[in-house]
Amino acid sequence: METIWFILITLMLTAYVVLDGFDLGAGIISPLVARNHDERRLILRAIGPVWDGNEVWLIASGGALFFAFPLLYASSFSGFYLPLMIVLWLLMLRGVGVELRSHVNDPLWWSFFDFVFSISSLLLAIFFGAAIGNVVRGVPLNSDGYFFEALWTNFRVGTNPGILDWYTVLTGLLALVTLTVHGSHYVAVKTEGEVQNRARRVAFFGWLMLVLLTAVSLVATIYVRPQILDNFRIRLWGWIIPVLVFGALVSMPVLVRKGSDLAAFVASTAYIVSMLGGAAFAMYPNLLSASTNPSYSLTIHNSKTGSYSLSVGLVWWLIGIALAIGYFTFIYRSFRGKVVLDEEGGY
């Protein structure tokens, strides 16, 4: 039962990264691809009706994590106290940046909110990447299951690391580039003309960086945490994951060049899904690895809640997510197609 919840929560978090990932990416590339007021409005319209719903996947994942693995929720949220709070502030700024820009007709007001929107999107991508890096690398858990990490110590990967060390900075940059490419694909799908061309160019240069960083971080991860290979030795079917990563990486620039932006978006989605899936596969059954003593690690077995609520939860979760997928399908279908600057649509 706890394995099912491990998979479900991985799926929810992956859905979050894929969905909010493209609107974060749109924010990151907005200064590069949208050069004037109307173009910036186009970007905002492309994500406007959906960004809030996308962000709900983060909240819902947090709720599901709290529900299924209360000890993990308690330990990781308090241990990652400072970076989480910074992420919360950035999420606030980003919401303000998206939604308040259009309320006042003044170029200074627009510039300010453009900046807030882009910088918060960029920093969020880096922080989310660093968060994944921390989970993969392991944290200094005590015997009671708690820890506290400073923002940085000496930037080395050791038994007493900070949130930011060279490895997590690397994963942060990887996330930044990933979401840049993913967001560029989305913007290319939703726009035409100059903005679309610029988005495709950003996607291509981003892709070059992405190939480089994927290779570097793969080597770095095996160096920092050799144990991640264990599950690949036991369960050989896991090797399909690196094949998928490779396939997605190779197909992205080909598809962009062919002008199949939607297919390229699917490819970057596949890249994100397989990377996160690979991380979850390698971690299992650990949820949070201890850098101090492996026996202190939080696993799905020592963090789970009672089996009654996990079983009941499966019922309401399936109903709730089926409804949510229904709403999302409806909304994305409703707002499908290229965005234009007609009178309705806001921003």
Partner: protein
């Protein structure tokens, strides 16, 4: 003041109090917007759509602030109250996780359609979107109340081998009697905030003699709904809530009422200052025997005073609890008086010319915020010294791995952030109210006369 416990308490108290300023208006306005949309469909009158459009602009700004100040709340159980989360996550996280999948997805999905889809998808879909946003916000409120109700009155759980609480009855958790009445009382409070805001905006238009047609619509809708909701807050919802406190949290009741000594035929204090050191009330103005009647339905019934309970079970801030409770009840009484008067004037067709009354209606909109906040302080300070009533004390629940220094750092950060948000909010709402409903775009008038305008 520098202990980690105090900082974590202030952290949660500050962020939740600020956050709840927004959802109460969201949940209060949502049904009123649905009413306007329904009237527009039913009567085929475009002006109801214009009214709905105007309020949806206010709603959108308010909703955004509710969302961005609400995200931290879902995280703060873990960040600042880790030991509590570990202990009670097996129960309350069911409610919180359900809120995510049943409420947040619903409201966030349909909000975009509601705000940007009126012309594109037509009036029926737009009505549906408005209704779904309303449903989402009210479902969300329900799950939060279920969470708080479990902390007030734990049910449907067992203590597992590792000492944490595990759910053993899903339906007992959801249909906790405490949750039912607390929910109704809370939603009544939200409707009061929404309807007062609507009435006050209308009164502003009438007093400044602009957009008077909409001014009349807003005042009429606002005062009728506000009068009904204010009555509902006293009976049945407030009365039943009080009964639950009497039966389940007797020490809290004694502290709320400032009742230090057990009394038969206890009187209810309207005004007075509690002196905890000498265990008495200074300068009391009271109604004899009323407390006994309200709590036990008998004039001579005995009501337990604080002297019946060991000191370590007294709420730890009796004056704050006493005052917040009295402010809530006092304001609630004033709301009934104001809105009943307004309804009588409306019925006699004098309200729109009674400028003195319009002034009162206009200036009264902040007070529901104060009453709602005071009500929540009553509930949460009243639960002290317990974090989960009877099971876990507040000092056992905070994140002991997060130091006071780190806690204060982020508390100050939130204070700064929320100061900026407050300024932005006031500027934007002020601009929207200044524009008013009259000059909003998308006119598709059906050409019918606004019936209300002719009659009043």
């Amino acid at each position: 003041m520098d202990s980690a416990l105090v900082i974590h308490r202030l952290h949660f108290a500050f962020t939740i109090t600020y956050h709840y300023l927004f959802p109460q208006l969201t949940m209060g306005l949502a049904p009123l917007i649905v009413i306007f949309k329904s009237l527009a469909l039913w009567k085929g009158d475009e002006r109801y759509n214009k009214a709905a459009r105007f309020w949806s602009k206010i709603f959108a700004i308010n909703f955004l602030f509710g969302v961005i100040t609400g995200i931290p709340m879902e995280f703060q159980f873990g960040t600042n109250w880790a030991r509590f989360s570990h202990y009670s996550g097996g129960v309350i996280a069911t409610a919180l996780a359900m809120e995510g999948v049943f409420a947040f997805f619903l409201e966030s999905s349909f909000l975009g359609l509601f705000l940007f889809g009126e012309k594109r998808f037509g009036q029926k879909v737009h009505w549906l979107a408005a209704f779904m946003v309303f449903a989402g916000s009210w479902i969300s409120g329900f799950f939060i109340i279920v969470t708080d109700a479990w902390m007030q009155h734990p049910v449907g759980y067992e203590i597992a081998g590792d000492g944490t609480a595990h759910l053993n009855s899903f339906w007992s958790l959801l249909f906790n009697e405490w949750a039912l009445w607390q929910y109704l009382h809370n939603m009544g409070g939200a409707v009061i905030t929404g309807s007062f805001a609507m009435a006050a905006t209308g009164a502003y238009y009438l007093l400044s003699r602009k957009q008077e047609e909409y001014g009349r619509l807003f005042v009429r809708t606002g005062v009728i709904v506000a009068a009904l909701a204010s009555l509902f807050q006293v009976f049945p919802s407030g009365d039943r809530q009080g009964k639950l406190v009497t039966d389940n949290q007797p020490a809290t009741l004694a502290a709320m009422e400032g009742l230090f000594q057990t009394e038969s035929g206890a009187s209810i204090v309207l005004v007075g200052q509690p002196d905890t050191a000498n265990q008495k009330l200074d300068n009391p103005i009271y109604v004899p025997k009323a407390l006994s009647f309200l709590t036990h339905r008998r004039w001579e019934a005995e009501v337990k005073g604080l002297n019946e309970f060991p000191r370590d079970q007294w709420p730890d801030n009796i004056p704050l609890l006493y005052y917040s409770y009295h402010i809530m009840v006092g304001l609630g009484t004033i709301f009934i008086l104001v809105m009943a008067t307004a309804v009588v004037l409306l019925w006699r067709k004098k309200l729109f010319n009674a400028r003195w009354m319009l002034w009162i209606v206009m200036l009264s909109f902040p007070f529901p915020y104060i009453a709602n906040t005071a009500g929540w302080i009553t509930a949460e300070v009243g639960r002290q010294p317990w974090l989960v009533y009877g099971l876990m004390r507040t000092q056992e629940g905070f994140s002991s791995n997060v130091s006071a220094g780190n806690g204060l750092f982020t508390l100050l950060g939130f204070m700064g952030m929320y100061t900026v948000l407050s300024i932005l909010f006031i500027i934007l709402i002020w601009r929207e109210v200044g524009h008013g409903p009259e000059f909003l775009g998308h006119e598709e008038s059906t050409g019918r006369v606004f019936p209300a305008a002719a009659k009043t």
